[in-house]
């Protein structure tokens, strides 16, 4: 997982429990590692692009990036935000043993 | 001629697409004889104009894709005949609209009709599920297999299969009519432009003009619908309906010119012609563009002009008791006069 991807996951994870946050990060990492290579390559390219976008902002603005991606007219950009939101949301809810049925 | 035994027309009738080309003709034909003519229209303006036709006309504003609107349309219409004439032939934005309205709308209308325990549903289909005749002498019959022509044809094919499925379910009686190219009063702008182009000698023959086309005057189609409503043995069947024998394209254009002249309009003697290949190229482009969910009306029309699209109406004559009274010249003249009445310059 690239640095930006790790930060996106941290940004999207809502729990304050460090153990659960770690589990979520490992779940997302496992999912990304296991992706079809061609899709993973696409995600990596986007991550690199967005790393630059975030780096040139002062202060670096991850929330702004995600908000911008969410409403982008380009489906490929929206799907980047959706991928991470989905992975984190599913992981966080399903790994949280305290509330899962 | 006819073997048919008739049932009585229902005192009330439901018409979708009531503000359309066919719908306007149908509403005016049935309004004097029915207690209620429940009409589905798209806008409040259409509703108020249609409401002027007769006190029996009861418009409901709504989208044929909206199950709630259809529930309002069918409220209290148990036992009433339904004429489903709502359809899109030339989509405005994307090809998907053809399917949304022609397939989705048909399914929802059938479903609402069944729930309302309506009477017979007369579904207005098209020649497009059958493509073009293989030769100029070939005629489509009720035994011809589906061979849909592009998006519109595919959507009307699927609609017909939905009607068959609804009939097979056993709790809805249906009749399908397949009118080809139609003409008559309340025509849309594209038809008025067509008259202008023919009059000015700008409408091309594609190929040598020996390809044949069946046509149907809206008045004849209204007559077919009213026969389909009552002909007892028609339940569950589909029928080709047209004016009569198919004419070749050259004669059709000559007749339109004659009609224009008889109505006092000077007509250009020129008849431009395009090689048949132009129609073939147009069909290919149309296919390509439609596969990208886009639609260009002119290409679509040009693509079909080269073809023979002709049907045999013997079965409708026998089983429906259908007998078209208006011929091409008379029908075209009445369309032209309708344009005059509306103040349209031809």
């Amino acid at each position: 997982m690239l640095m930006l991807e790790r930060r996106v996951v941290a940004e999207l994870t809502t729990s304050s429990d460090p153990a659960l946050r770690g589990q979520v990060e490992r779940w997302v990492e496992g999912s990304l590692d296991d992706m079809a290579e061609v899709l993973r390559l696409g995600v990596i390219l986007e991550s690199l692009m967005f790393s630059i976008w975030v780096a040139v902002r002062r202060p670096p603005d991850l929330q702004g990036l995600l908000g911008w991606l969410d409403v982008s007219p380009i489906p490929l950009l929206r799907s980047y935000a959706r991928l991470f939101r989905s992975l984190v949301l599913f992981g966080e809810l399903e790994l949280d043993g305290s509330t899962t049925s | 001629m006819t073997d048919s035994i008739d049932t009585l027309p229902s005192p009330a009738i439901v018409i979708t697409g009531a503000a359309g080309w066919l719908g306007q003709n149908l509403v005016r034909a049935v309004a004097p004889n029915r207690e209620v003519v429940r009409c589905l229209v798209q806008t409040a303006d259409e509703a108020s104009l249609l409401g002027l036709v007769s006190a029996s006309v009861d418009p409901v504003v709504g989208d044929v894709r909206d199950p709630a609107a259809l529930e309002r349309l069918f409220a209290g219409m148990t036992g009433s005949t339904v004429v489903h004439a709502a359809a899109i032939i030339h989509p405005r934005r994307r090809v998907q609209e053809l399917y949304d309205v022609n397939v989705g709308g048909t399914q929802l209308v059938l479903d609402a009709a069944r729930r309302a325990a309506s009477g017979r549903v007369v579904h207005v289909s098209s020649n497009s599920p059958f493509g073009a005749n293989p030769t100029t002498s070939h005629r489509f019959t009720e035994a011809s297999p589906f061979n849909p022509y592009l998006g519109y044809g595919r959507s009307k094919t699927e609609a017909e299969t939905l009607v068959q499925t609804a009939q097979a379910r056993g709790d809805l009686e249906t009749v399908v009519l397949r009118p080809p190219w139609f003409y008559g009063p309340f025509q849309p702008d594209r038809q008025t432009q067509w008259f202008r182009a023919v009059r000015r000698g700008r409408f091309p023959l594609v190929g040598d003009g020996t390809n044949r086309r069946s046509m149907i005057f809206t008045g004849n189609l209204v007559h077919a619908i009213l026969r389909a409503e009552v002909a007892a043995q028609a339940a569950g069947s589909a029928y080709w309906v047209a004016d009569g024998p198919a004419l070749d394209m050259r004669s059709i254009l000559a007749t339109v010119r004659e009609a224009l002249a008889l109505e006092g309009l000077p007509v250009s003697g020129g008849q431009p012609a395009l090689p048949r290949m132009a129609g073939v190229v147009a069909e290919h482009l149309d296919t390509m563009i439609q596969s990208r969910d886009r639609y260009v009306q002119a290409l679509h029309v040009l693509g079909e002009l080269k073809d023979t699209i002709a049907c045999d109406i013997t079965r409708a004559e026998h089983e429906l008791g259908y007998s078209p009274e208006v011929d091409l010249l008379t029908g075209m003249r009445s369309s032209i006069r309708w344009c005059f009445d509306r103040g349209a310059a031809l």
């Binding site: 779940w27 496992g30 999912s31 296991d34 992706m35 079809a36 290579e37 061609v38 899709l39 969410d70 007219p73 489906p75 929206r78 799907s79 959706r82 939101r85 989905s86 992975l87 949301l89 599913f90 992981g91 809810l93 399903e94 790994l95 509330t99 899962t100 049925s101 | 989208d63 894709r65 909206d66 199950p67 709630a68 609107a69 529930e71 994307r94 090809v95 998907q96 053809l98 399917y99 949304d100 397939v103 989705g104 399914q107 929802l108 479903d111 069944r114 729930r115 998006g151 595919r154 959507s155 699927e158 439609q290 596969s291 969910d293």
Partner: protein
């Protein structure tokens, strides 16, 4: 490098591979089944949970066919294949489809009667049963909605066996046909991916594999075999053949059931342990309506698909369940093996008619759910309207478009097909790959089309037919 010899090598252990392995082993052949995924103790993982997603699914359960819109898909990757992770819903291949394929592909004896004979036997081996008691509330929603609207719905039987207390056990391949294969002498090599088949002239002579050891390291394995049957499913089988240099008629014409979802909120809590057995069949064969896995995470994902503010609905997730409309699609896709990559590129191009059918499915589904008492509907359409009243369903027609529809599928088929005409399919009428004398395919990629129903029964029926034909020729 390890070397292994076998008379028959079977690549994959799902519905197709397990059936093939059982038939050939029972016919006395020396059978080796190679499975890329792990062997998992049946019942040890929570169905549809994170562990199962990570261990038993390929790509953690999320891959995508690229297109506009893309279609997310999931496939099993473990001993038993997708039968270990699916809902077990059982529906024979509709007779009209069998007749259609028989004519279209020139399959002489592919008649509904013949296939029913195979299906009878498969069902006796797998155990296919309806629920012994009443269906759960989540399933009855579909029946109630359909009844309210005068639509037909059916409670489907499943590949489940039930004990006297009514407790169900899913009859996956690892519980049914695979044990029969092992009893007849077949052996298993799990955690082993076949990277390519070695083809010499018009014969396949073996397979190069990569095995993952329990410590996470890998070893290369070379398998020599007299006959090879590829049963990796509609994505993996064509990819393996292409990687092995066999491309003719392979990987084109992929079919699927594109699916749109709606998360429905009710006034009372709904069960979340099972997948609904009821389906609304009123609109068959064009579209089918059913219920999805709806654990809390799935509910959240389905709610989030709409892009609406979901916090409040998510907090109330016990009253939310996810339903779907799946269509038969006019479109086709491709599987393309990419050099240097394990996973192939999968594409699928939906037609305008497909998108419209999906919108129609969503509207029908919405009608049924509202009729069954749902109070809020969240469609899997980005920016799609959350619907609370019937009059608002009409908005979904225009909202389902290429940019916004969020689609998925779990049924992929038809990427190879069987035919007596070479130009129509990658294999002969019994799954033998053209131009290679001892290479066969026997899985979902052989179906002539996506069948409009859960395909497991059709896959196994065809697999039994082809495996017995193969056994008679070896």
């Amino acid at each position: 490098m390890r070397h292994v010899d076998a008379e028959v090598l079977i690549v994959g252990s799902g519905a197709g591979g397990a059936t093939t392995a059982m038939v050939l082993a029972q016919a006395g052949h020396d059978v080796l089944v190679v499975e890329e995924g792990p062997e998992i103790e049946p019942g040890s993982l929570t169905p549809f949970g994170v562990d199962e997603m990570g261990l038993a699914y390929r790509h953690h359960g999320s891959s995508a066919a690229l297109g506009s819109p893309p279609v997310a898909y999931a496939e099993g990757r473990c001993v038993g294949g997708s039968t270990e992770v699916n809902s077990g819903l059982w529906h024979r291949l509709p007779a009209n489809l069998a007749e259609e394929w028989r004519g279209r592909f020139g399959l002489d004896e592919f008649s509904p009667e013949v296939l029913d004979g195979y299906a009878d036997r498969i069902e006796a081996m797998v155990a296919v049963n309806p629920l012994p008691g009443p269906a759960p509330a989540s399933s009855e929603v579909l029946e109630r909605g359909a009844t309210q609207l005068g639509w037909r719905s059916v409670e489907f039987p499943r590949a489940f066996s039930y004990d006297s207390a009514g407790r169900g056990t899913k009859q996956t391949m690892s519980r049914t046909l695979l044990p029969r294969a092992w009893d007849a002498g077949a052996s298993l090599l799990a955690d082993t991916a076949v990277t390519r088949l070695q083809v010499t002239g018009n014969r396949v002579v073996g397979a190069q594999c990569r095995r993952r050891r329990s410590d996470g390291t890998h070893e290369d394995v070379e398998i020599r075999a007299d006959h090879v049957v590829v049963c990796g499913g509609a994505v993996q089988s064509p990819a393996l053949l292409q990687r092995s240099g066999i491309r003719r008629g392979i990987g084109r014409g992929l079919k699927m059931h594109p699916t749109i979802k709606v998360a429905a909120r009710f006034t009372d809590p709904v069960d979340h342990q099972d997948v609904p057995m009821h389906r609304i069949t009123e609109f068959a064969p064009h579209l089918a309506i059913g219920g999805s896995a709806s654990r809390r995470g799935h509910v959240a994902l389905a709610l989030a698909d709409s892009g609406a503010d979901i916090d409040e609905a998510l907090a109330d997730w016990r009253r939310v369940f996810v339903y779907y409309a799946a269509i038969r699609s006019d479109a086709g896709g491709r599987v393309i093996a990419l050099p240097g990559m394990r996973a192939p590129l999968v594409t699928y191009r939906l037609t305008p008619g497909d998108l419209s059918r999906l919108a129609r499915g969503a509207v029908h589904l919405g009608e049924a759910l509202l009729a069954a008492g749902a109070t809020e509907l969240y469609p899997s359409i980005e920016g799609g309207s959350v619907v609370r009243r019937r009059e608002d369903l009409v908005r979904w027609w225009d909202e389902v478009d290429r940019a916004r529809a969020s689609l998925m599928t779990v049924h992929l088929t038809s990427s190879i097909r069987m035919s007596s005409t070479r130009s129509l399919a990658g294999s002969d009428p019994f799954g033998k790959v053209w131009d290679v004398d001892n290479l066969y395919v026997n899985d979902a990629s052989l179906l002539g089309d996506a069948p409009g129903v859960n395909p497991q029964a059709a896959i196994m029926t065809v697999a039994l037919r082809n495996a017995e034909h193969l056994a008679s020729t070896l």
